[in-house]
Amino acid sequence: MNDAVRLQLEDFSQDEEVCALRAGSMRMGGIATFLGCARDFSEGREVCEIGFDAYRPMALAELQKLRTEAIERFGLIEARIVHRLGTVRAGDNIVFIATGAEHRAPALEACRWLIDELKERVPIWKKEITPSGEAWVTPHP
């Protein structure tokens, strides 16, 4: 749990992640987070579960690069990223990003940047499992 960047099957706790984010510094004035969850509906279809596939070594390396880049680019004090793999059910957590900075603007901007870049750069694929079958999600161009 203490790695700042993780791919894992298990769920995570926001409180624990934010606590770990803050552990090293009393100078954090602003912490932004983004939590992505599995919805029970997507483009008109009922979704029961979401399955993930990943090219794990590259996915983890890309997440680590993203964290380092975000810290440098936005002057963050700390950042954490957790992405779940395996299969999750509707309503479950998928991805969590937390960014901490002295002031609110860099924390909020870095959080936005990280989730946008993660979607572009990290080799993970998701499949929606509905009552009538499965389909890989095609990202919007």
Partner: protein
Amino acid sequence: MITVLFFGPVADRVGERQIDVPFREGMCWQDVRDELTPRYPEAFALVSIAAVNGERVRDDVRTPLADGAEIVFMSRFSGG
């Protein structure tokens, strides 16, 4: 030998997660793609990203592969 890996929708269409391709001196990742595309046309129709040994590679840069290299042909990511 070159190890070729597939994930997600590409793996489903190939029907395999891994295939091996014999190594030839001087071959580039583009040669592997050109060799596999006619064998798995539906899978390669999805491919828009390639990585060699875990690093994304550009279509317009040809670097000879080392024997034992790992190539991954990937469709657009949909994580997050």
